[in-house]
């Protein structure tokens, strides 16, 4: 009887704990969906005042004169992200190869936490260093007037995405089965040939995942970008022209923009565009990830 009772209690206890977990999971889901719903609802309300064609395909941004062309911000975000990937990927990938295959174990044990440290640096610090160190350097090296712009932003973003690229690529490289490597060496390939003909291609899905994740991080970065990009609402025309990104324009204008106005809504629409881009990237990662094991 007594034993039965204890057993009963345990079952009840078990059930309640399960409810707790379900509640937590539900809460998480509710939060993310309400964010998407809120941003989406507020953002899509823009289209009651502005045509989608104007928003996505013109670059004249002057809400005070009812011009809501956001193309320059979208282009700015894309250009800066791609340039950052072009700078950051080779660096990160080579670093990952070094750490995974070449570095002696002791060095590796120092480098891993060092790479993790990158993540611990707040983005405002990256921005501040960019503003006070990198901008003057670019100004004097390239003889440009302002120094703000695509190049300095991309360099900073490239540094910020390095840890993502390095740690995920390194995991992918470590995951390549040892026999592949050994077979390649046994066939007479040099170590270098083995790395770039066997190991890196086998790890390609993981490396691709790293790059896409890094892109997601780069396109969403706000603070550091805002400090060095110049925030000029014009199309990016070169590496040294100041421009704007979706994130930098949101942060610059949100403070003084009436909520619920076409202007405020269009900022939410920019947030929605970012959200959709990130969502697509995550879907892409899932596809790449599933291909790896099929």
């Amino acid at each position: 009887m007594e034993k039965d009772f204890i057993h009963q209690r345990k079952i009840i206890y078990d059930r309640y704990v399960r409810y707790l977990f379900i509640a937590c999971a539900a809460l998480m889901t509710i939060i993310i969906f309400s964010i998407i719903f809120f941003v989406g609802k507020q953002g899509l309300m823009t289209f009651t005042d502005v045509s989608p064609i104007e928003f996505f395909f013109t670059d004249k941004w002057n809400p005070l004169a009812h011009k809501y062309g956001a193309l320059s911000f979208i282009a700015g975000s894309v250009v800066v992200t791609i340039t950052a990937i072009i700078i950051g990927t080779p660096l990160g990938l080579l670093g990952a190869v070094f750490m995974s295959k070449i570095a002696p174990k002791r060095l590796r044990n120092i480098m891993r936490p060092a790479v993790d440290l990158y993540v611990a640096i707040p983005s405002v610090v990256y921005g501040y260093i960019g503003l006070t160190v990198l901008v003057p350097i670019i100004r004097s090296v390239f003889y440009v007037n302002m120094g703000y712009g695509v190049l300095v932003t991309s360099i900073i973003l490239a540094v910020m995405i390095l840890p993502t690229i390095i740690s995920i690529s390194e995991d992918a490289l470590n995951g390549v089965p040892k026999p592949l490597e050994e077979a390649s060496l046994a066939l007479g390939a040099t170590y270098w040939q083995t790395i770039y003909k066997v190991i890196v291609p086998s790890a390609a899905p993981g490396i691709l995942t790293a790059i896409v994740l890094a892109m997601a991080r780069a396109i969403g970065e706000t603070m550091a970008v805002q400090m060095v990009i110049g925030n000029t609402p014009l199309m990016p025309k070169g590496l040294f022209t100041p421009t704007s990104t979706l994130t930098s324009n949101i942060v610059i204008e949100m403070g003084n923009t009436p909520f619920g106005s076409a202007w405020g809504n269009s900022l939410f629409l920019m947030a929605l565009v970012l959200l959709i881009i990130s969502l697509l990237m995550i879907l892409a990662i899932r596809r790449i990830g599933s291909r790896r094991y099929s």
């Binding site: 009772f5 901008v135 007037n145 110049g230 003084n256 009436p258 619920g260």
Partner: protein, 289 residues
Amino acid sequence: MLFSGKKKLLAVLGTMVVSTMLFAGCGGNDKAASTDKAATDLKGKVSASGSTALLPLLKPAQEAFEKEHKDVTVNIAGGGSFTGMNQVGEGAVDIGNSDVFLPNEYKDKGLVDHKVVVEPFVFITNKDNKVSNLSTEQIVGILTGKITNWKEVGGEDKAITLIHRAKSSGSRATIADVVLKGQQFTDNASIQDSNGAVLKGVATTPGAIGYVDAPYADKSVKVLDMDGVKYSAQAIIDGKYHVYGYGHMYTKGEPKGAVKAFIDYVMSDAFQNEYVEKLGFIPVSKMKK
């Protein structure tokens, strides 16, 4: 038996703690705000939000006012001019602080304007710049992008970089109003999100020009004369220097009770003479109508 009972108690407690933490964020403010104090003369709450440029002025006003009227609580938040006008329009706050006159969208909300202070602006340039005086016409040329090199206004051969505020900024709206008078700013400019950031940008970028609220201009930049007039409070009072806006406090309808008392206090000679000039603003009372 005893053990499992304890465990259950722990689980229940844990759940309670977690849920309290989750919901603690909501509703806390109401409880604090609704505790009324005993009445003497005036009592109640005054809430204000809006312009960050007015914050340094209103903070001392709040402290002094609360000392005089012990039963009045004054809350002043930032958020920007449009936030202030928005919130007072919706009735979320008693006072909306703004650096700009009401835009058309707000005209039908029954807001009453109280001009409490004059906010002067100065044009600043990087220290390397040799030009120390610009005419209004030249400044308009620079701001609209027609003049792009310092040599066109009597300086050396160096490109002009305009660094200024975002389209949603009250400062920018004031400059557009009093200097550009309806013409459009060039888009070819670097945009910063605060007075401090503009100051830093101008101080570090060769050939840069920008504008800030006068109290912000410091030794790191060069303050330009306009039409041969050097900026000073007196020059504005005498009507010789024209680049200024008003700090507004908007209320929905005519203010009553504690709200009225607070605005009256801000506009009183005692407060205006003691604080306003010290903070780099100019008392409204001194302006010649």
